[in-house]
Symmetry: C2
Subunit: 442 residues, 2 copies
């Protein structure tokens, strides 16, 4: 069954003019941004025109558009006609000066630099407003998880009283390692370093400074509180040992590096450090290097955001999302929806594993009849499950089937429906399992 | 420790002119919107000026601003100078005509009407664009969970290939009831109706039409696919029985009403119905009437949004968030950040339960010494945990403390630090438990 439908550009913005983009820094995130812009060129009005890197000869690649200017001279970028500068240098110097200079040159700025925004966000937002430029920093917190836009836009109508989360993947990796393998802190750290999940100097991650900078940004966006990173109380995870997970388990808890900022009337409390959290809380269930943020609103209650908090591609998604907003800002367009429709088809026949529950009047040969019917439709039976203790006159059992097209299952069930041993119409349910795009074992 | 900080208006928009708001419909959501606007008046530029309801005399309340016009005549609203009309009538008629009429009168529209947007979203967005008005519908899907803004803005840079979720709280309530209490479908439904979680005619919820309309909206916003609600394959949960949960458990799964829309090249597949999902998936962990959406992007992987999917206040948060965007649209302002700062304080001394792990050279009287020290600082010991099998010369054990101020704990630990039986500096960790604002047992 296919029906022609109209396609609808919602995230493809009606940006009339091309928006010229410069990348400052071409490491993991920078090259992911360039790849994403390339993969989606034509879908949006963003065009990569400049790449700055200190050692540009070593960084240069051959797969960007041929007219991209590669340079080690920042002035060449800042004096050009680029519309948006993407700052991926990290650190405060020279990033701070260059971002200010870009805004002064009436360019919009998108940054993934959490320290820059945690320390100078207020000043830079003020400057951006004065220069009527867009300043985007969605990539600074939780990488690809759209928590800043969620707090800014989707929950703007609420009054948030707390934002809590796991904001540092390195700590989550190390603590999970200590918990699961009974490793010591230093063993777990060494493993994380070998696996590329921790840097050679892990201080910022382990002692909470990295999460603290992200928390300062969350405080500003979610709680309207200008919180300086140095006012976040940071506690190290260095002292946490395997035995603490044993005791925590006795209390129904596990231990995670938790970042919390809370508003109590006109006071703000902000803390990062290891804490006991209930085993059944979403904070405890987070795996590996993922990030999670739970916001608590006075009116809307708790809202959870989680996903990939780091890595080139997820961070690049956040950067490009901000670039699309910057482009709309420059085009002076607030439209997020483009009602122009192109066509796509509705597909009705996916392949999926199936659960089929029968209720029968038992007699010999039923399984053979059913298996033969499925086989006539090229459907393989995976397993048969039968719980004991049911009457033979109304006996329920289940067959699970290997992946097959739904149309085929429907045909097989139509044939099976004529069998006289059925007490009820069989119930078929899809079994939704982990796929390549499903990290969550759905 | 208190430090004066600047407060930062991020969700408090710099809306220069007051934006006049009319409510069409004053049921649960309508009165929540009015309360929320009242509670936050002065913080934003939104002013409630009109309330329309068919039986307005019965609906009228005394706690809205005295100058609000209450009317049963829609023309009085549509011919007034209101800036934004909030449509909370539900259903297609007369909502469709009135929304078109409002847009034609150059008013922006915010709606929580999923059927209206699922059926006529494309047409209405086109009309809004033509009239240069804002059309907001964040409240149509998952109530207070900001999933539409997350997909539209935060994940705009990705190319989404699937959106899956639990979009109907009634089904989740009924299926959880069957699972937990071994109830039959009709028993669970009757209970849901008594508890106010299901309507007297529950067809739309149970047979998937409600979730199907939401899925059509998610398809448009997340996958750019114009999907008509009638193209969503809907399967009822009526046939699911307690025994199916038993068999599902043997397969490591549970059963939930799952909505999925998936893009495979230029084809779209959309389905709502009961399905087996892995017990450890976030879909299986959702409790009660909450909603969850998991988006899968080609670049950013899986992102999870969850929270309160229904109810007056969460839905009102979504409506007011859209109103704030409408106000910015009308003020022709794209600024989400107001760098103007007011002051708040950083608080350093919250009350929290504590876990304290000691490592000691064992000898009689240690517990008494520690308990006495805590007692001198007015701290109550909650429990003592000690795992067997450790050497007496390096014996670890844990004391949990009742909620106390951190400053008091620090003072007690300073005193305890002088005891000569300590082998290591004690490790103290906060125990983060469920609070009144924490539905997730954090």
């Amino acid at each position: 069954m296919t029906t022609t439908l109209a396609q609808f550009g919602s995230s493809e913005y009606a940006v009339r003019n091309t928006c010229k983009v410069a990348l400052l820094g071409f490491g993991t995130v920078g090259s992911s941004v360039a790849r994403l812009l390339g993969a989606r060129s034509g879908e949006h009005g963003l065009r990569l025109t400049h790449v700055y890197n200190r050692d540009v000869a070593r960084k240069r690649v051959d797969w960007t558009p041929p007219d991209v200017t590669w340079t080690a001279d920042i002035d060449e970028v800042l004096s050009s006609d680029v519309d948006v500068v993407v700052e991926l240098l990290g650190g405060l110097r020279p990033a701070h000066d260059w971002v200010r200079c870009a805004l002064r040159s009436r360019k919009s700025v998108v940054t993934a630099n959490k320290q820059l925004i945690a320390h100078f966000g207020s000043q830079l937002l003020h400057q951006a407003q004065t220069e009527q430029q867009f300043l985007g920093f969605g990539a600074c917190v939780a990488g690809g998880v759209p928590v800043l836009s969620g707090l800014q836009d989707g929950l703007a109508g609420d009054r948030l009283i707390q934002v809590r989360g796991i904001l540092n993947g390195t700590c989550n990796y190390i603590l999970t390692k200590i918990e699961k393998a009974g490793a010591s802190f230093s063993e777990a750290l060494a493993e994380a370093q070998q696996a590329g999940f921790a840097e050679s100097d892990p201080t910022d991650d382990i002692d909470g400074l990295d999460a603290g900078a992200k928390l300062a940004i969350l405080a500003r966006v979610g709680l309207n509180a200008e919180l300086r990173p140095q006012h976040v109380r940071c506690h190290s995870i260095r002292q946490v040992a395997a035995i603490d997970f044993g005791y925590a388990a006795e209390l129904g808890c596990t231990i995670r590096q938790i970042s919390t900022v809370k508003r109590i009337q006109r006071q703000i409390y902000a803390e990062v450090g290891p804490a006991l959290v209930a085993k059944n809380s979403p904070l405890a269930c987070l795996s590996g290097s993922q990030n999670i943020v739970v916001s608590s609103g006075e009116f809307g209650g708790d809202t959870v955001f989680s996903g990939h908090g780091a890595g080139g591609n997820p961070t690049a998604v956040a950067v490009v999302s901000d670039l699309l907003q910057a482009a709309r800002h420059r085009a002076n367009s607030v439209e997020r929806h483009d009602p122009a429709a192109s066509s796509c088809e509705v597909m009705g026949d996916p392949e999926v594993q199936q659960y089929v529950r029968f209720v029968v009047r038992d007699r010999p040969g039923i399984l053979a009849s059913l298996a033969a019917a499925f086989s006539r439709h090229d459907i393989n039976v995976d397993a048969v499950l039968q719980k004991p203790g049911y009457s033979k006159s109304k006996l329920p059992f289940v067959m699970t089937l290997e992946s097959c097209r739904k149309s085929r299952l429907t045909a097989a069930l139509a044939e099976i429906g004529r069998f006289d041993f059925l007490e009820e119409i069989p119930l078929s349910l899809p079994i939704l399992k982990e796929g390549p795009c499903d990290a969550f074992a759905l």
